[in-house]
Every structure is written in C-alpha cells, then in structure tokens.
C-alpha cells in the first residue's frame, strides 16, 4: 500500500521553480532517500511533506489523506532537522517528551514512553543534561529520540548525519538501518551523500534542478542509470563520460569519439544515429593490450586499489581502477580497452536519457550476467 504519494507536486519561490512536477509513490515501511546535489530541491520536497512549506501545485497524500492543508502537527509525521533543533532550555528528557506533552499524553504514560525511547538510544544517563552539554552525536540521538517517541506514520530526516565526523557517521548509518528494520516505519531521508543513500535505502529518488531524475533501488540506480546526470552523479570515482556520435552499421551500433570506437547491439529501438555520449565506469576499463592509447596522468592510492587517470588524445581523461600492487608512474604510456557490455549510451545533452536496453530484457543476455 502506498503510504506517501506526491502527484504532480510543484513548488515555486517567486519565479524560481524549486520542485517541478514531482511524482513519487512511497510504499509503507520503505526507506527512501532523496539524493541530489545541493540546491536540487530535496529539502523543499521534505518540507512540503512535513507541512512547513506549501506546494504551489499538485497533491500530497499521507495514507489515504490529502494533506495539502493539514498543519504539520496533525500529519502524523516526525522530523529530524539537520541542525537538530533541540529546545535549548529543556533537558534531554523534556526534549524527548515534548511532542507527547503537546499531544496531551498523560504524565505517567509520557514518562514511560520517554524512558523506553531513551533506553533504545542509550540516552538514559543523559536525561537531565541540557543540549549544549552534549556532544554532536548525542544531540543527534536526542533529535532522533524526539522523533521516535511518538511512533509516527512517517519519519522525515534532513541530512541528519552531515554534522557528524566521518567515523560517527558510519556508526549512525548502521544504527539507522537497524532502527528502520526494527520499527518498520516509512522513512524519507534527505542526503547529498550517495554512500548514505546507497547503503541505507530501499529506493533512491535522484533529483536535479528540481526534477526527479530516477526513482529506483540503489542497485538499479548504479547499474541502469536513467540518464546521463544520474550516471555521472552516482559512483565514486564517477563514471567516465565521452561525447561522440553513434552510427548504425551491419546490424549493430558503433560509437565513435577521437581515439575510441565501441560497438554494441544492446541499444533500444528509439536509438537514432548522431551525437551521443558513452559512459563507462572505472571498473569497465581494463589495462594491458587494447585499442586505446593513453598516458598516465595521475595515480591515487586508496590502500586497497589504485585509481588511475589516463589522458587519451589531447583532452579526454579516463579513470580506471587497478589492484593496489600494480606500480604506476606518471607519464607512462598505457593501452586500454573498454568492455562494451559495461558501456552505457546516452542521448546528447546533460540529461540525455540512457539508450541501452533494460538488463532484464530478452535480447540482452550478454550484459545480464
């Protein structure tokens, strides 16, 4: 059953379109991430769902109820803010039980629910402290506690981990995943960090420029990006994207760019000859004998692998991965080949749609393995 539905939702600030014709169907119990670069409209989308911002068009439903005109306090949602927004003069315990108090939960019951939530988040020893006497991670937990305590239908989280240090962030990520599994509640999670989105979500809504680019499970977003934007946004190091042209020859398509030529049969029926782009992830490049000649420009050692940037021709840079024990020298000549089964092809333009046939389609066995 759909728990949260956005139908043709738009939000305009003056003449600026912050969210444009957004359609999302979020299932009950799903963990959804809104992912995209800064300024793409993620927070605005979340705030519309929270009732802090009103859509200038379209309809938002929570459960079977259209909530466009329902105030935030009556939407049965809870939100965790990026800044935590803890009430500074209230103790941890008072902060956590505040939403219950405002909903007139009897005192004894309130105390019990608060104690249970605090226990779950290991906040019990801190209940009498003020927020400013807590570390960032502890404040974050209190903010979570205030959201969890009343067991709402939908949890909204706006970049909740972005103010934590890297190690704590990793730890909180696992805690949030566990929490979601335990509670089974719908969660809508805003982040600009693809690692968070990829590791935590059931599905990711990738946004850019106020528009939804793709809404799919992490695996699909990675393996079958809907368009060139998603392809280049997801994955570190990013996908190599090469501008060139497609032509049809002898029952197959040939993509050509200076120094590169790749043939494929896996393009959909809508493919037209002409300008196009090819994308290949670093792991789709193999070093050794190959048709592409280049010069090693830069090597980044991460410990378990080497990221190698190769200059091909005068201005094309391709990034590949190799094992950590392979020694590279900058300036060294290399030969590369591209695994055409791993290549993606896009229509011309920054948001050009992907032309490959779906992985699951029958005419595409070679890529589906």
């Amino acid at each position: 059953m759909a728990d949260v539905v956005f139908s043709s939702v738009q939000k305009q600030f003056g003449s600026f379109m912050a969210v444009d014709n957004l359609n999302l169907d979020i299932q009950q119990g799903e963990f959804i991430s809104l992912l995209g670069p800064s300024g793409c409209g993620k927070t605005t989308t979340l705030r519309m769902l929270a009732g802090l911002e009103f859509p200038t068009g379209g309809e938002i439903k929570i459960g079977d109820r259209v909530v466009n005109d329902v105030p935030p306090g009556e939407r049965d949602i809870a939100m965790v803010f990026q800044s935590y927004a803890l009430y500074p003069h209230m103790s941890v315990g008072q902060n956590i039980s505040y939403p219950l108090k405002k909903r007139r939960v009897p005192k004894a019951e309130r105390a019990a629910m608060m104690a249970k939530t605090a226990e779950m988040l290991q906040l019990t020893p801190l209940l009498d402290r003020k927020p400013k006497e807590l570390s960032g991670g502890q404040q974050q937990r209190v903010a979570l506690g205030r959201a969890l305590v009343r067991d709402p239908k939908v949890f909204l989280l706006d970049e909740p981990l972005s103010n934590l240090d890297a190690k704590l962030r990793g730890h909180m990520r696992t805690e949030l995943i566990e929490l979601h599994q335990r509670l089974g509640r719908t969660m809508v999670y805003v982040t600009h960090d693809q690692l968070e989105a990829m590791t935590m979500s059931d599905r990711i809504a990738v946004m850019e420029g106020g528009k939804l680019q793709q809404f799919a499970p992490p695996k699909d977003v990675y393996r079958e990006p809907a368009n060139r934007f998603v392809a280049s946004f997801i994955g570190t190091p990013g996908m190599n994207i090469v501008d060139g042209a497609l032509r049809h020859e002898g029952g197959r398509w040939i993509f050509e760019a200076p120094g590169i030529s790749v043939g494929t049969q896996n393009l959909g029926p809508e493919t037209r000859p002409g300008n196009a782009a090819m994308g290949i992830r670093p792991e789709g490049l193999s070093f050794g004998e190959g048709p592409i000649e280049g010069i090693v420009q830069l090597v980044e050692q991460t410990g378990h692998e080497n990221i190698v940037v190769v200059l091909v021709g005068t201005d094309m840079r391709l990034t590949g991965r190799t094992a950590a024990d392979r020694v590279w020298r900058a300036g060294e000549s290399v030969q590369l080949s591209i695994d055409s089964n791993q290549a993606h092809f896009f229509e011309d333009g920054p948001n050009g749609i992907r032309l490959n046939r779906p992985l699951s389609s029958p005419g595409n066995q070679e890529a589906a393995q």
Partner: protein, 298 residues
Amino acid sequence: MTQKTKTLLERRYSMLGLLLIAPTVLVFCAVIVYPLVSAIYLSLFKIFTPTLEGTWVGLDNYRTLLAKGEFWTSLRTNLIWTVGTLTLQIIFGVGMALVLHQNIWFRSLARSLILFPYFISTVVAVLVWKWLFNDLYGILNHLMMSAGLIDWPLDYLGTMPNAMISVILVGAWKYFPFVVIAVLARLQTIPDHLYEAARIDGAGPIARFFDVTLPQLREVLVVIIMLRAIWDFKEFDLIFLLTGGGPVTSTQTLPLLVYKEAFALNQMGMASAYAVIMMLIMLVFMIIYIRRTRSEDS
C-alpha cells in the same frame, strides 16, 4: 632557558597591556571614581550650596534623612514610578517587538517610527505632552469629552492619582522603544528551526510563544529589566519637567528630592547623603545585572 625568556616576553606583554589600558583607567577615575568619592565625602558635611563652605557633621546627615518622613515617602513614590513605568515598558515593548517581528508590509517603516519617542529630547517630549494634557486647551480632554468618556475636563497633572498615572504613562511611552529594539534583536536570532520543530511536535502559536520564544528571551529580558530599572529609578528630567514633583510632593522621587535639597534648600551635604543612599539602592540592581551578564558569558 626557554622558561626564562618566556617570562621576560610575558612581562613585556603585561607592561604593554598596562600602558594600553592606562588612558581608560585615568578617564574612568576622573569621571566616575572622583565624583563618587567626593559625593561620599560631601555627605559627611553640612554645606551651604552657594558658598560651598561647610562643617564636619559625620553621619548626622544620614541620621536626619532616615528619620525624615520625606525620605521614605519619596522612596515609596520612586518605587511606584519605577515599577509602574517599567512594567508598562516591558509589556508594550515585548508586545510591539513581537508584532514587528512578523512579516507585515509596513515593518521597516514601523521599526523606524517606533524609535521616535526614544530619540526625541525629553524637554520637547514633555512640552508636547503638557499641551496634550492641558485641562483647558488639551486635545486629550477634548477627545475624551467628544467620545463621551468624561463629562468634565480632567486635571491630569494637578491631582492625584492622575499625576502619577500620567508620569508613568509618559515614561512608558518615552522608553518602551528601548525594550522593542533589544527584544527585536534577540527575536531575530532565534533559529526558525526551533519553531518548525515545535510545529511538528504539535505546539500551537501560544505554546510556541511560551516554549520557544519566551525561554529564549529570558536572558535579554533580565538584562533589559536591570538596566531600565536603574535608569528609571534615577530618572529626573521627565518627572521634573512634567510635574515638578507635584501636586505638592506626590510625584517627588528621590532624584527630585536631591535636586531640591541641593539647589532649593541649598543643603549640598544633605543632598549628597540622599544621592549616596540612592546609589546604594541601585547597587543592588547593578550587582544582579553584573552577575547575570557574567554568568551568561561563562
């Protein structure tokens, strides 16, 4: 070795520090410490103001004034004035700040207009108010009578309790903009997220005021109240010009009494003793104020 050079350097820095604060300390001594000590010193003499000649009387001035009914009446008047005008200043000031904090279209205009009473010279303001209050030609009586609120012109400044009420109201009018500005500045620093969190937590507008706004205003209100209490307690010109302490002595606060002793009765020593007592009373507020601001820093 290192230890020694370091202390040398430190010593040079502290010398420099002393040099830098020396001018301030000198000015501070000249304009604050000297008058203060001199007032305490004068209060131990019986002095005739025009000649400034006097004889040592020790604590006699204090003994006399504490035994005098006039001191206690003036102190009572002073407290009524201070509490009355300060309460109104806070209520109007906070209320107006809350209104001006909203996104209303005339906000920036209103914000500048609101400062008007505070910036206008007290003499000018009082003259205008005296005209408004005038029982024969005053517009206030005219309006009240045409509105049918009163049948007969009221004497606003010449009878009690009217005179006290008028003084308190004019004081509130004159000084509430200070409260508006201070509170408004604080309101603007309260993060919006707190209000949004409260809305999501189910708090209505009134709950948001009491649970978010007011706690955030507490610190600044304490400071405003202390400062205004000190300033209102020693207010002279507004009351002096409006009623001169009258009718008879009904609005005669301590500063007016000091003035009377010093320049009407020519008793500079006695006047100094009153001033010293006033200072002791205000010291209480000052200590609270300093404590407050210090604990805020830590």
